[in-house]
Symmetry: C2
C-alpha cells in the first residue's frame, strides 16, 4: 500500500516531470487537511507556513497537476470558487456532499448508494458512467431544529 506522496513521486517520474519542494509542500498541506474542502487561496496561505516564497500561480498549477493525477479532487460547491480535497484513494469516485442552506456547512456522505442507479441508466440510456458528482442542498440537523424552535 502506497501513500499519496510516493504515488506522486512515481507518477511524476513516469511523465518526466520534476519533484520540487513546492509540489511536495502543496501535497503535504492537502494531506494534513484530509476531509476538508479548501480554496486555492487558503491552500496558498497554508503552504506559506512551510514554504514562504511560493507564488499563488504555482499553487494553482500544482493543484491542477495533482487533480490530473487523481491525488486531489476538485469540487464546485456553487459558492463562486473551486475547492480541493485529498482523494482517499483513486478508486473511490463517490462524493456526496450535503450543503446546508442556512449555515453553509458542507458535510459528506461516503456511501455509494447510487450504484443501482448507475445500472438503470446504462440499461435505459446506454450511458456508461465513469464518475459522478452529487450535491444535496437542505438544512442540517442543527439549523433545522433551530428553525423549528424560532418559529
Amino acid at each position: 500500500m502506497q501513500d499519496s506522496s510516493s504515488i506522486f513521486k512515481n507518477r511524476l517520474k513516469e511523465k518526466g516531470y520534476k519533484l520540487t519542494a513546492q509540489r511536495q509542500a502543496v501535497l503535504k498541506v492537502m494531506m494534513e487537511h484530509e476531509g476538508e474542502h479548501l480554496r486555492p487561496e487558503e491552500i496558498y496561505e497554508l503552504v506559506k507556513g512551510s514554504y514562504p516564497e511560493i507564488g499563488l500561480a504555482t499553487v494553482y498549477r500544482t493543484l491542477a497537476l495533482l487533480n490530473r493525477m487523481e491525488l486531489v479532487y476538485k469540487l464546485d460547491l456553487n459558492d463562486g470558487c473551486s475547492r480541493y480535497e485529498l482523494s482517499r484513494n483513486s478508486e473511490d469516485h463517490w462524493h456526496h456532499h450535503l450543503i446546508c442552506l442556512k449555515c453553509n456547512e458542507v458535510a459528506e456522505m461516503e456511501e455509494d448508494l447510487l450504484e443501482s442507479l448507475e445500472g438503470e441508466i446504462l440499461r435505459k440510456k446506454g450511458f456508461v458512467i465513469k464518475d459522478h458528482k452529487v450535491k444535496f442542498y437542505g438544512y442540517c440537523r442543527k439549523c433545522y431544529s433551530k428553525m423549528k424552535q424560532d418559529k
Copy 2:
C-alpha cells in the same frame, strides 16, 4: 394551467417589479430554447435578435431574477461558466445530467430515482433535503460504441 410568461407577470406584480421589454425578450428566448443549457453570452446574442440594444448586464440581471422566481434553473457543468435552462415546472427539482466525457454532450434524466436516498440521508444524518444536483460523467452510447470499434 399557466405558462411561464404569465407566471412571470404575476410574480413581478406581486413584488412591485416592472415588466419591461428586455425581461420579456430574455424569457422568450429561454422558452424558445427549452431543454437547452445556454450560457449568458449565448442568451445575450439570441436576445439581440429581437432586442438589439440590450446590454449584457441586463441579461445577467434578468437571469438572476428569473432564477429567483424559479422560472429558469441555473446549472454548473464544470466547464468554467454557468448555464441556464427553462424549468419545466417549479415543483420538479430533479436535474440529472449525463455529461459525455468524449463529445461533451449533456443529456438529461428526469426521473427522481433519488427519493429513497433522501429518506436514508434524513434518517442517518438528520439532514433535510430541499434540492439536489446530480451529474454523471461517462460515455454516451454513440461515443462508447465508437470507442469499442476504434480499439
